[in-house]
């Protein structure tokens, strides 16, 4: 049985464990039909030209974990931003871990999707927001919708800001030989409210894991959302991340994606600007080696006038790694005075590494400023010589240059401890100890 068939037949088993009378279940049923019709995307589709899911489909993934697994905090502490106090929504093999989590209902709701989807008190909000910005057409998103049951639910009411950042962490224990996870997050940030979120998927072994995640973010007027994705998973862990963001006037949403590991990572990041005078920022640092593959597909849809979008993705590709950047910007006819900027710079440090980068601009308004730039290059030999002439070894000199190259992206990380942590990850990834924290 292939993975598609297995998923479709698992849907019936899934229905035994959810309330089929709940309105959300109609959404799921619609979604599984769509997935059944479309199946997994293939390389024949333009959007999947450089990323093949074939080898993943050959793995016999468990769709549900056979047992509930536990983890000791001390064993996984290093995956949390433990230098500071945070709210935590933690899942082990897809199942919520109350032991590792720290949720709250104190003025804001930082809790579980399973509660939001079942408890009457959340019904009104779920009716308004659930599956409203996520695609009803894209097959992997609909696959996630069909199995949507668990994930993070964050609701920040008007004028509120949680006291500390929120960490959403998914652990895979490796107790299953191969496991598929489909977390579903819903994040609603009301007028003048603010939230900072750090998301991480972490496999604890090299057993195969495939995560197909969907996150919906709604940012109301004047809301500020900072979302940080840390992708530094093990060699057999793959992630398909589908993030959909609906922004209203004067809101500000920033998504940073740090891709340092994993077998195959696909980021579908979609911004819809439903209002004026707002700012959408998406930035990323990708540092890959081995046979790792990362595919960044971004979309910004400028629907109304006077808005801005900023994209800045830096990639460093070594060994046999492969990268894709596809940045689509749509500016509707009425979206005059749009400023849309896109930048994708790449360094290949191995002859065998490849990157495919493509800007895709569809501009229907005439009074707009749009710029895009893609570069693919090697490290600057003169700069290397400069550092070597100061006594810095070639390896360290290369690392410093690569760090400098990625620095623009790091500068806008607004949690200092997170920035320090990412700097350390970068230094580790580049294999150097520079005697100071980058």
């Amino acid at each position: 049985m292939d993975l598609k068939e297995k998923l479709i037949s698992s849907f019936m088993a899934f229905e035994n464990n959810v309330d089929v009378e709940h309105p959300v279940h109609d959404v799921r049923t619609e979604a599984i039909k769509n997935f059944e019709a479309k199946g997994f995307p293939t390389k024949k589709e333009e959007a999947w030209k450089y990323t093949s899911l074939n080898s993943l489909q050959k793995i016999d993934f468990s769709i549900f974990p056979k047992q509930e697994n536990t983890l000791e905090y001390k064993d996984v502490k290093r995956y949390f931003l433990h230098e500071i106090d945070t709210y935590k929504i933690v899942f082990i093999d897809g199942i919520y871990s109350s032991f590792l989590s720290e949720t709250t209902h104190d003025g804001v709701d930082i809790c579980l999707m399973s509660s939001a989807l079942t408890k009457p008190m959340y019904k009104q909000i779920v009716d308004v927001y659930f599956n409203k910005v996520a695609s009803k057409d894209e097959s992997l998103t609909t696959l996630n919708t069909a199995f949507s049951r668990e994930g993070a639910y964050i609701y920040i009411p008007k004028n509120k800001m949680p006291k500390k950042p929120v960490e959403i962490v998914h652990f895979a224990t490796g107790n299953e030989a191969s496991l598929m996870l489909q977390p579903r997050n819903l994040i609603i940030v009301e007028e003048n409210a603010e939230v900072q979120i750090i998301e991480r998927h972490q496999s604890l072994t090299t057993n195969a894991v495939l995560t197909n995640a969907v996150t919906e973010i709604f940012a109301a007027q004047n809301a500020i959302v900072d979302y940080y994705k840390i992708q530094n998973d093990t060699s057999e862990a793959s992630l398909i991340d589908n993030t959909y963001i609906n922004q209203k006037s004067k809101s500000n949403v920033n998504v940073h994606t740090f891709s340092f590991g994993g077998k195959l990572t696909r980021n579908n990041l979609n911004f819809y600007q439903n209002g004026e005078y707002m700012d959408s920022t998406m930035k990323g640092v990708t540092i890959l080696g081995e046979k790792q593959h990362v595919d960044h597909h971004t979309l910004v849809h400028h629907i109304e006038p006077n808005c801005e979008s900023h994209q800045d993705y830096k990639g460093i590709y070594g060994e046999n790694s492969t990268g894709v950047f596809n940045g689509k910007i749509i500016v509707d006819k009425i979206a005059q005075k749009t400023n849309a900027f896109q930048q994708n710079n790449n360094i290949l440090i191995s002859d065998k590494a490849t990157i495919n980068t493509k800007p895709q601009l569809e501009i229907f308004a005439d009074d707009v400023k749009c710029s895009h730039g893609c570069t693919i290059g090697q490290l600057d030999e003169d700069a290397l010589f400069y550092m070597q002439s100061r006594g810095i070894g070639k390896k360290e000199a290369r690392a410093l240059l690569m760090y400098a190259f990625a620095n623009n992206v790091l500068e806008s990380v607004r949690i200092p401890e997170l920035k320090a942590r990412i700097n350390k990850l970068i230094a580790k990834k580049l294999g150097v100890n520079l005697g100071f924290d980058l």
Binding site: Q388, R390, A406
Partner: protein, 250 residues
Amino acid sequence: MLEIKDLHASVEDKEILKGINLEVKAGEVHAIMGPNGSGKSTLAAVIAGKEEFEVTKGSVALNGEDLEDDAPEERAHKGVFLSFQYPVEIPGVSVTNFMKTAINESRKGRGLEDMPANEMLKLIREKSELLEIDRKFLSRSLNEGFSGGEKKRNEIFQMAMLEPKVAILDETDSGLDIDALRIVANGVNKLKSKDNAVIVITHYQRLLDYIVPDFVHVLHNGKIVKSGGKELAMELEEKGYDWIKQEATV
């Protein structure tokens, strides 16, 4: 201290240095002058070990030790310093952190432990005062957005920190106003001792009013065609390089 013998160097099969002989003793200041394209900067880069240049003949030795097989960083560890005409910008790495890395890498290269943090801070304070550099400057990203003068001052600050045996200043005067020139020259003069040597590469005589050379060499077409005392620099300033070129072809 530095001995260059019949040095030939090429880049992409084009010979740029065509037999340079130069001996620089401890305590001396040498100036290397010459028209554009004569090979001045190439000579500086070859001494510092830039891999782009291939040494096809001859040798560069420091204190009797041939540097041929040494990478640029190893030459730096042994005491060669090159002040760049165009220093490189490194966003995200502060002047202080860059210096810490450079110093500790050099110490590691010499088999020493890292410099203790308090000692490092003391050294940074002391040397930055010498170059009239203020604190804020030290926490800025290396060379990023620096003015021409700041970049050159920072180069000499690095020289002060690394305390080289032989310092080569490649066009350190270019892009400097008179105040910056004075500060930079002052710094170099204070760092000069009987145990080290300085090679000043310049197109103009101006810098040599401040850093007074013991010897002046004129480079033309990859060779030293004339050597003399500091008065040679004055003569060049007055007459330009044409007479040298003519003399060389005769």
